[in-house]
Symmetry: C2
Subunit: 393 residues, 2 copies
């Protein structure tokens, strides 16, 4: 299902325009912050004695993957089969496709595996297990499988205490010649928290659920070499990961305002921003209009449910420093309405038509997906490279 953008041209990483010569809106990535975020997570997980499997769903870029992964062949996590195909072409070998497998996707999974990538699928039902077992037999490709376990009731997965279902799935898979790799959990409810103790408790609950499910399998004689957990907040706040073999996290690499609201990243570590140009004013209303609307920023309003509502993003100068109380208060498709927070007594900065600003996004995964490349800022604040990224399925 790969369809070209009809006006697509090859990326030209050698022609890197200056920051003030870029056409706007576009996506900026601060490489220094990116590397520091990765280094911090890696050191933290090394201290906890577990492997790190970066989730590539936020970046969808081979250049970023090579910084985030511990080795060029992985491990890595993907959210779409298009990502798996793209990263496999880039030499990544050890991947998990982190969305419950649909039977109609199995042929595509095997095609990716036939190209040399060790792609693992996840599932949480007997129906899926049967489909995977049938496919493994008929295709002579014994698929590696992780059973998805529900860490906190937020989405998919077998309940960790539901030994009957866990064992029935495990036995069905083994009988079908599938390679049962273990269990996988994602503590998605941690996104709703913001207290460090509550986040540490969520990480411990995720660990305990994982260990419970793994022990259930092992006690019945089923293999469970991998115990994979992760989310950016629980990865950041985990204090003890005994029994866990690997941690997954993705959005922490870039950071965003939502994760800053959770407390999983610091505002000054956010590596992603949207470059925008001022195109007008409604001075009586205190509005500055820019060319970065929701199409460039995404429709994500996740911070609306947090203590500090950041509108559609925090407005910064070209050096990346936030203007006091200045946010994108509203958006249309290609217009951003920049204004002071309600009740603020800060001064509206003087930003004439043509002035440029950087906007920190609510949600890096959503904002990134609106763009097809990153303009990468080096340590001097100049554009040192252009890194393509993919989208779609």
């Amino acid at each position: 299902m790969l369809v070209a953008q009809p006006n697509a041209k090859p990326p030209t990483p050698r022609s890197c325009p200056a920051l003030d010569a870029l056409q706007t809106p576009c996506l900026l990535l601060d490489e220094v912050r990116l590397r520091a975020n990765v280094e911090r997570m890696r050191a933290h997980l090394t201290r906890l004695g577990v492997a790190f499997r970066p989730h590539l769903k936020t970046a969808k870029s081979l250049d970023v993957a090579r910084i985030a992964m511990t080795a060029p062949e992985g491990p890595a996590m993907v959210s779409t089969l298009r990502e798996a195909e793209y990263f496999a072409r880039g030499g990544v070998r050890d991947m998990i496709y982190g969305v419950g497998i649909a039977p109609a996707k199995l042929a595509r999974v095997s095609a990716i595996r036939a190209g040399g990538a060790d792609l693992t699928v996840i599932l949480d039902s007997l129906e899926q297990a049967e489909a995977v077992a049938d496919h493994s037999s008929s295709s002579s490709d014994p698929l590696p499988v992780l059973i998805e376990v529900d860490a906190d009731g937020h989405r998919s997965g077998v309940a960790p205490g539901d030994a009957d279902t866990l064992l029935a799935i495990g036995r069905l898979l083994l009988a079908g010649g599938v390679s049962l790799r273990g269990v996988l959990l994602h503590a998605g409810d941690s996104y709703a928290l913001s207290d460090p103790e509550a986040l540490a408790a969520a990480a411990e609950a995720e660990r305990r659920a994982a260990v419970t499910a793994a022990e259930t399998l092992r006690a019945a004689g089923l293999p469970c070499p991998m115990v994979s957990v992760g989310s950016t907040p629980t990865a950041r706040y985990a204090r003890n990961l005994v029994g866990v073999t690997e941690v997954r996290a993705g959005v922490f690499m870039f950071g965003d305002l939502f994760q800053a609201g959770v407390g999983a990243v610091a505002m000054e570590d956010i590596a992603l921003s949207v470059l925008a140009t001022v195109i007008g004013h409604q001075r009586a209303k205190g509005w500055i209009i820019t060319d970065a609307g929701w199409m460039a920023l995404s429709r994500d309003r996740g911070t609306a449910r947090q203590k500090v509502d950041q509108g559609y993003g925090v407005v910064c100068n070209l050096a990346g420093q936030p203007y006091p109380d200045l946010i994108v208060a509203d958006t249309n498709q290609e217009h951003g309405i920049v204004a002071l927070r309600r009740g603020s007594d800060a001064a509206l900065p003087d930003l004439p038509v043509g002035a440029r600003v950087r906007i920190l996004p609510n949600h890096a995964c959503a904002t990134g997906a609106q763009h097809d490349c990153y303009y990468v800022l080096d340590g001097s604040g100049r554009v040192g490279a252009v890194w393509p990224r993919i989208n779609g399925w």
Copy 2:
């Protein structure tokens, strides 16, 4: 700023898979409904005696543009310069770039015009007028310009009664050798309405503001051949367009749940849907999990502010008929949580793993932008074509 998706392959319109063989999630477009929506708008505007300039920001597809436009060369409206470049390559000649022009974009505008397209820009300030006049002189490309006028206080534009600013901009442009084409308005506040009389009143207010501004220019001896208004709701509800020369509208072509909530389209006319596959269940909670999360549907939650909150979309069977009270209640990046509306006593349909559903989107512009092509359903409900679309700037 054209950067290829690194895994992009050419579109293969000759290989059109059956609906149940498509990889999901993907975007379906009902060609019969699309053509009917266009025909209805065209007939309505013909009755009102005005030209129709379709806004291509929703579709971003040359195939759709050729159905929507009254002639292969236009007129048409675009929201990005990448659209202008793409449609110009496709033979569209008469285009307006509908976002207030930034000085740094003028060279790109002239490059598009040098290729043969008559691309008009819009502006609402003396600063922009000065930049355009300077550019017109120095580049020997006398740019055509429309002055943006504020219909209803929702975004950009000179107030229609602000004769001083209108005339100052007009005179500055003329003195600079710019081709002053007239005025342009967009009644964006109509999106917040839902009563037919209020929508008709919004259309009449948009018309009056346009005529006021046009008469101000003409009374001072300035040219104003074009009087351009439009939004899907006001286009639909306008009863009298005397003094207006053209109407713009875009989202009506596809329709969506938000516009259905406004009353600008009928639910059964919505031509766009996302095809999704069931990948799991949480039966105790009444959840059906699909592979269409916010990445496939967009983060748009516009119906949350309307009388009927449609969640992230209305769930339909493969024929496009909604299941009673079944909506996408929540989403993660690649997961949709399908459930009955709160308080519904309808029965949850039996949708096993692998079953397929179609999801009507909240906002066609936002949902479309998450995809790179349309799988086009012909009258028999089969995929008759694959139409590429563009994104980005």
